[in-house]
């Protein structure tokens, strides 16, 4: 069928540069379209999960079992008016949601889905993820500043300090991973976790504290409960996006959920063996084979954790949040950095023997 399509549009006659461009564009669409669907249904899933945790049913009116609820939400947001507050810095106000969204999507460029399936297989993909991820904060602080509202501004200030603080712990946790794997390439990091002991070969075991630090920092970086001080409904209304409505609000919403899915994916890739099977070396059936299914299953577990946290924990107070980041996580990661350094030098089996 692809060949037929190729002859139909006279593919071979296109200039080479255009061909590459089109292929890359198609790949991007192939990643982003499922992502958007995933985001939409993740919101549905969230409401359902939290509903059941509260002993409610959750959305059940639109479509069978409420399955069309996210579509209805999207349509509603798209047709709402975009209100620009008086006294707002209009350009910055409109550019802020884009700045929040762009990094969340750009990070997907280097996420590998299996051994070969990755849009851009660059050397330093881990660093790339960290760098692009750190830019997401601009959307939030600019939104808060440009709204010309004190609640939005307070939310932005909280968010800026929080993101910068937790980025350090997150960065250190990732440094430990890269030391263990000996590479900055996400694919190589997953491949370094391969072994005959199945899930016991993965880094979650030797780097357990780092996984915890990374995931909690990830929760803080995405401004999710219990670290959602930037929104803090009960304190500062809705924080940085209090003045946003319609599509602009929807973009913030999308960015937040896309970021959460990224954190889930990265946790799965870095600590839980990515697409590797937990039963590798135990059975030769499809259960023992690496596949995309495993990656998505692992990421889903982490995504469920996000929702579980939100339904369970009360919000942190600001000073407690700072203390956790600076006085607990950063020292912990530094200690673990040294320990893993020793373990790598000693070639501790079965994780670090290969390098």
């Amino acid at each position: 069928m692809i060949e037929m399509l190729q002859t139909l549009i006279m593919w071979d006659a296109w200039p080479a540069g255009l061909q590459t461009l089109v292929v890359i564009m198609l790949k991007i669409v192939a990643i982003l379209a499922p992502l958007m669907v995933a985001v939409a249904y993740y919101t549905y899933f969230e409401r359902k999960v939290i509903g059941y945790m509260h002993v409610r049913i959750g959305p059940n009116r639109v479509g069978p079992r409420g399955w069309l609820q996210p579509i209805a939400d999207a349509v509603k947001l798209m047709f709402k008016e975009i209100v620009i507050p008086s006294g707002a810095d209009k350009k910055v106000f409109l550019i802020a949601p884009v700045l929040a969204m762009a990094p969340a999507l750009a990070m997907w460029a280097v996420i590998p889905f299996n051994d070969t399936l990755v849009l851009a297989d660059i050397n330093a993909s881990l660093l790339y993820v960290l760098a692009i991820g750190s830019m997401g904060v601009y959307g939030i602080i600019l939104a808060g500043w440009a709204s010309n509202s004190k609640y939005a501004f307070l939310g932005a200030m909280r968010s800026a300090a929080q993101m910068v603080s937790y980025e350090i712990a997150m960065g250190f946790a990732l440094v430990v991973v890269l030391m263990a794997a000996g590479s900055l390439n996400l694919g190589d990091i997953v491949r370094a976790q391969q072994g005959d002991y199945g899930l016991f070969n993965w880094y979650w075991l030797p780097l357990l504290p780092m996984m915890v630090v990374y995931f909690i920092s990830g929760v803080a970086e995405t401004n999710r409960a219990p670290f959602d001080l930037a929104e803090g409904e009960s304190e500062i209304v809705a924080g940085f996006h209090v003045d946003y409505s319609g599509t602009t609000f929807a973009v913030f919403f999308l960015a937040e959920y896309a970021n959460m899915i990224i954190v889930g994916m990265l946790s799965a890739l870095l600590f839980m063996g990515g697409w590797l099977s937990p039963f590798q070396g135990w059975t030769d059936s499809w259960l023992g084979q690496p596949s995309l299914f495993w990656l998505l299953a692992k990421a889903s577990i982490f995504l469920f954790l996000f929702l579980w946290f939100r339904a369970t924990f009360p919000r942190y107070r600001y000073d407690q949040l700072m203390r956790l980041g600076w006085k607990v996580f950063i020292p912990l990661t530094i200690v673990w950095l040294v320990l893993v350094g020793v373990a790598v030098m000693a070639g501790l089996e079965p994780w670090f023997g290969k390098a």
Partner: protein
């Protein structure tokens, strides 16, 4: 013109534009944002030079952390630029003369004649398996280990200085002792009293 050259000129143009805007816009927050753009495009230029580690680190450190804190401060300041513009017109002629002189000298010194492509040939591009990060790491921890360590000491001094200059121990502030709070047991707070049921009168 090759694709790389097109990219180079595009990014260079954005960089120069952003740098110009940093010093000419009136709004301090806008200026900081243009600075972010300038950092980002210079990172792109470094990428063209195959220095991907430096490029990504520039984004990570400057765009992701330094400029965020910078914005943090700039947003909270209520900057009044009017006093700063006083005397602008008075010093302008001198400023223009100095600037032109410097530009002329720089153009003579760092122009095509000394650093053109004839004097500085294009380096041979590396293969796909060349890792800039790895090469930098090797150099930093072997040949340049001494300067590298001193740079680390400079950072330490900066931390010590920053803390010494800002940490103020004020009397009468109320703070929590988290360790104490965490160490609290039930018995410290709740006393269970065993007593017989009382008769309703």
């Amino acid at each position: 013109m090759t694709f790389e050259q097109i990219l180079f000129y595009a990014f260079a143009a954005i960089l120069v534009f952003a740098a110009g805007m940093v010093i000419t816009v009136r709004n301090a927050v806008h200026a900081a944002l243009f600075m972010v753009l300038a950092f980002f495009t210079s990172a792109a230029l470094w990428l063209l030079l195959e220095a991907e580690f430096l490029a990504i680190t520039l984004v990570l450190v400057y765009v992701g952390a330094v400029m965020v804190l910078f914005l943090f401060v700039v947003m909270m300041l209520d900057l009044n630029t009017a006093p700063m513009r006083e005397g602008f017109a008075r010093y302008l002629p001198v400023g223009i003369v100095v600037a032109l002189l410097v530009i002329a000298v720089m153009a003579m010194a760092v122009g095509q004649r000394h650093f053109g492509l004839e004097q500085m040939p294009v380096p041979v591009p590396h293969g796909a398996d060349y890792s800039n990060t790895r090469e930098l790491g090797l150099l930093l921890y072997t040949t340049y280990v001494y300067p590298f360590e001193i740079a680390a000491v400079i950072l330490l001094v900066a931390i010590v200085a920053a803390i010494a200059l800002t940490l103020r121990q004020r009397g009468g502030t109320k703070t929590q002792n988290i360790a104490e709070q965490v160490a609290v047991r039930r018995d410290d707070r709740v006393r269970l009293v065993q007593m017989d049921a009382e008769q309703r009168k």
